[in-house]
């Protein structure tokens, strides 16, 4: 992913767009995202993935699963086209798409699907992750069509 960092970053500095506050457990996830890389926790014991981050593997309860890069590609599980925003910073984006995708490694991720023709969406539509810079050095993962 690192080579593609420059291409995979979009910028949205709309004031008030939420910037997640990392916790002790999720800090490595957000540190990677801020550098344009998607990392999730992999358990070498059971080969399961854990997301959202945890101090233990959610499949087999092994301590301290390992942070590993994931490809950032996956398929659409479901979505909604939002016409009424819950807070002002998303107002200018309406209508926008909120989507849940299953990454190819298995974990599920929610994000906005950017720049998509919403009438063309279907279960299984391929998407990939890009990184949206909301403040200097602070990014969130987003989807675009693959």
């Amino acid at each position: 992913m690192t080579d593609e960092t420059a291409d995979d970053t979009v910028t949205d500095r709309t004031p008030g767009k939420p910037i997640p506050e990392p916790t002790a457990v999720s800090a490595p996830y957000w540190a990677a995202v801020d550098t344009g890389e998607l990392r999730m926790q992999y358990c070498p014991v059971c080969t399961g993935w854990t997301f959202p981050p945890s101090s233990r593997c959610r499949q087999c309860s092994t301590r301290d699963p390992q942070w590993r890069p994931v490809a950032g590609t996956g398929e659409l599980l479901t979505w909604s086209v939002v016409h009424q925003a819950p807070y002002p910073s998303y107002g200018p984006d309406t209508p926008y798409v909120v989507a849940v995708a299953r990454l190819d490694e298995g974990p599920q991720l929610m994000a906005n699907l950017l720049g998509a023709d919403e009438t063309a969406l279907a279960i299984g539509t391929r998407v990939r992750v890009v990184f949206e810079e909301r403040a200097p050095g602070r990014r969130v993962p987003q989807f675009v069509l693959a």
């Binding site: 767009k17 939420p18 910037i19 997640p20 506050e21 990392p22 916790t23 999720s26 957000w30 997301f51 959202p52 599980l77 479901t78 979505w79 909604s80 086209v81 939002v82 016409h83 009424q84 925003a85 819950p86 807070y87 002002p88 998303y90 984006d93 209508p95 926008y96 909120v98 849940v100 599920q108 991720l109 929610m110 994000a111 906005n112 919403e118 279907a122 279960i123 969130v140």
Partner: protein, 392 residues
Amino acid sequence: MRNDPAIAAVTEIPPGRYPDFDELGLHLRVLDEFLDQWQVKPGEIDGVLAAPTGVLAEGGADISVHEKVADELGINPRYAQSMYAGGATYALMVARASAAIAAGEADAVLCISAGKFPKVGAAGGEKIARFASHPEFEFPYGVYIPVLYAMAATRYLAETGCTHDDLAAVSVSQREWSLRHPDAFMRSKGAITIADVAASRMVASPFHLLDCSVPLEGGAAVLVTGGEMARRIAGRPAYYLGHGEAHFEAAVSQRARFDTGGAEVSSARAYRAAGITPSEIDIAQLYDSFSSNPLMYAEECGLLGRGKAGEHYRSGAASPGGSLPINTYGGLMSFGHTGDASGMSMIVEAALQVMGRADERQVPRSSTALVHTHGGMLSEHATLLLGDRAEG
């Protein structure tokens, strides 16, 4: 069950706006109405189940509401607590109360709810969005309650081939029922058509405004007692036949399945507990935050085949005079959604129907009722079965 637990009495105040009452004040108003309406003395009540107030308030929740209700009644209960599972709280209260009565831990348990939906203004909308979503992995994406429910609705429509007309038919049917309920908030707005629902403004696909419940304030009380006391109070009480519950992932994005709301698990447990089958159900009250919920729940509870609920609604079979009436009080979309108290409304209605006290909207054959409630963002499920005779 031992002691034949039954709902002996129900009271609900009309959903609306109560600017002069906070949530605790609304509880006391519900109590007033309850004691006026029924021949029950506070001293006969020895159990109280309540829910926290102020779940969305700045100062945090009050989690000892049961104590305040007991104080107001002037009783020292031998069985009491406050409990919370969102909209599923109240079906679980009736189940816990019934278990306590069967075990001899209480004789008469008052289950009470009162709630206010925060105003969905700029600040209120953000507060509700934060409450409903994962703070790091969902909230940052312009997500709030309709969007989270849409995740299941989109998938349901895609997999079954049902359309927005099927969702709209639920809104139409429930409005028709609400015209027969004197306290229904939307009664004064009159009947609506599928075209009206489709023409109302889009909120989050597939939901238009008229696919959404109406955020209001209100509350209700349900008294669960042993069969003997229930027959004295009500004549024909609504017996507890059984319940089932299931609790799934709190974060919608992490749900293992989007093709179901989750009612198939809790309803299967309820049928097993009660020893009855879906074919024995005469009426259903299905929690309806949005129009998609009753469609999915009618199928998941085994009352209709997969993808068949839309046709059931469009043919009028869920409406007055229909073969399987659903949400006979108008539901949260037309009766009103009383904040965190809303999960009581469908229990009150199911009990009134079984007791034969539903007046203008009484369904002729209403011996066995199914109530399905959910809490959180489709994460907590409780199915309650009530009947006009005790089981086993």
